[in-house]
Amino acid sequence: MALGIKDFLGFYNEYKKKVFNYILYRVSFDRDLAEDLTSEIFLKSYANFDRFDENRSFKTWIFTIAHNHLVNYYASKRPSVSLDDIQELEAGIDYVREIDQKLTTARLLKLLKTLPLPQQEVIMLRYVNDLSYSEIAVILEKDEGTVRTALSRALDSLRDSARTILSSPLI
């Protein structure tokens, strides 16, 4: 039996938070933007829901759409965006402050922003979205070994950044 709107709503309820957080961390905590992009991602997925193979994982399918959507968004809307954009960075940290998070979270976010975009993404997928290596591999269309290596390198980079940045007061 083909999947219908009811099934889709079930998936939506299960994954909306994960997708939203994936986007939120990737757009420097611009909440409005993250909510709009999340909405677009789910609408796009429903528009193509007929093509979804129910034998596959909806999680990897929706994150693949989210990843591609974000790539397209950056490519079309913000081609000149800098990863080290101070304003974005401060906005992100301010946001975290507002919601009364620990200082370490703010420091960690600042460190993360120093990493290249692909490394940030693999870290977010692994730790914020709690995806497995194999799921990340499907989403990023890479093999599992590459993902493991990329993640290890990302953590190394994080450590290197910590050496240079964490020693001085950031906030």
Binding site: K6, L9, T38, S39, F42, I99, V128
Partner: protein, 466 residues
Amino acid sequence: MNTQHDNFEKQLEQLPSFEIRKRKELLFFAKLFLLHFKKIIQSSSNFLLSLNPFYMGRIFKSGVVVAAVFLVLGTAFSYNAGITRGHFLYPLKRAGETVRVMSTFDAGQRVDLHLDYSGRRLDEVRTLLNGSSGSMFSAASAQSETPEVTDVTDEDATAEDVVFSDETVAAVEETVSEVVEATEDAMETVDEDMTDPTEVSEALDTIEEAQEEQLDELSDLSEDAPVEVTEAVDQAVDDTAENLGEVVAAGEAVDEALEEGAEEVDVDLETGEEDVADDEEEEPSEKQARAEAELVEALATFESFKAALEASGFDNEKSDKFVGKVEDKLAAAQAALADGNYGKAYGMLKAAQAHTNVQKSFGNRQDFVKVKGDDSEDDEDESVSDEVEDETDDEDSTEESDDDESEDESSGEATDEASDDEEANDESGDEDELTDESSDTDDDDDSDEVRDSGKPAEDRGRGNNR
């Protein structure tokens, strides 16, 4: 290096996660359902429009759009029993149901729809009483829009501690009456739109089955529901019973018409009579005779039951009310029987039985069964206990233990039954003790307590101690 990795991993795992704001989510739902609607229209409009070029006009298109929006949104929301009267999406849910009925051309399917909606109303009543409304959006958003149930936060709080707001009571009352109305809509559909004897017979059977189930569920509800809504639930039991009577009578007549080879029937469900072209005086069928026998037996059983109640010293307002209700129903059944209206008699009998089920809430079964041990009441009590045994499976063990207990007492042995039964056994050893305890029950008995129990009084006592 690994330690540093671990440290970072721990910190990364603790990164906070956030929720989408409700208003943004609602906006998403609006867009999603528009998209859904667009997909449906895209797949069906070409076919519809190609059939009838006349309908290319704007008015038709607008009408289709509006109806389809209600149908799609209403259908989607209708799956959710958490959307109850008072919820902001409830009108949409009901509008979806109406559109669906209006767009269903087969009368048999419409009957099924009405019965389905009757079931939904019952689910909504339960949701309202449980105070567990939710929506497909989220529990929080739904609860903010649904009539509230103010619950006492005490862990030991019982059902009687739950305070229902006026809004909730009103919503329950209205929804309960709609349970009956939905089945009446099904009856009306048969009445007005069906003439084929086979179809009518099948539809009436379906309605009868649904009403039987509805009677059971409503009587269960009457047992568990708070005192504020009892009247409405009891009224629904009575109305359903009366309707059931009409349906049974009409079903009998249609079956006979079928046997006589009638090609068309015109059912009048208001009176339970049915006009067939060659209508004749009917002989009571086997089913009717059986209904008559059942009624006679029920009357005898009830008399025994009343006697047992009196003998147990259970003399309070609650028992009088119950006895009065059953008496009224049985009298109505008797009158219907005398008039030859077997369907109504059957319905009234069902209502009496439904009230008897409600009697479970007295919590005095031990008192009643105890009288069974008295030689003078032996025969009568047995018939009553048989009836009660039929009604509730879960109470079978109590019945059996009492039987066992009579034997055990004669041999001077203590039984090793479950604790409930032990207490019942303790009580049943002495008639004077029984009367005292019954008096105690009377003293403590207020309507709330009786309503809340649904189980033996001693069970409630233990619950309170906890």
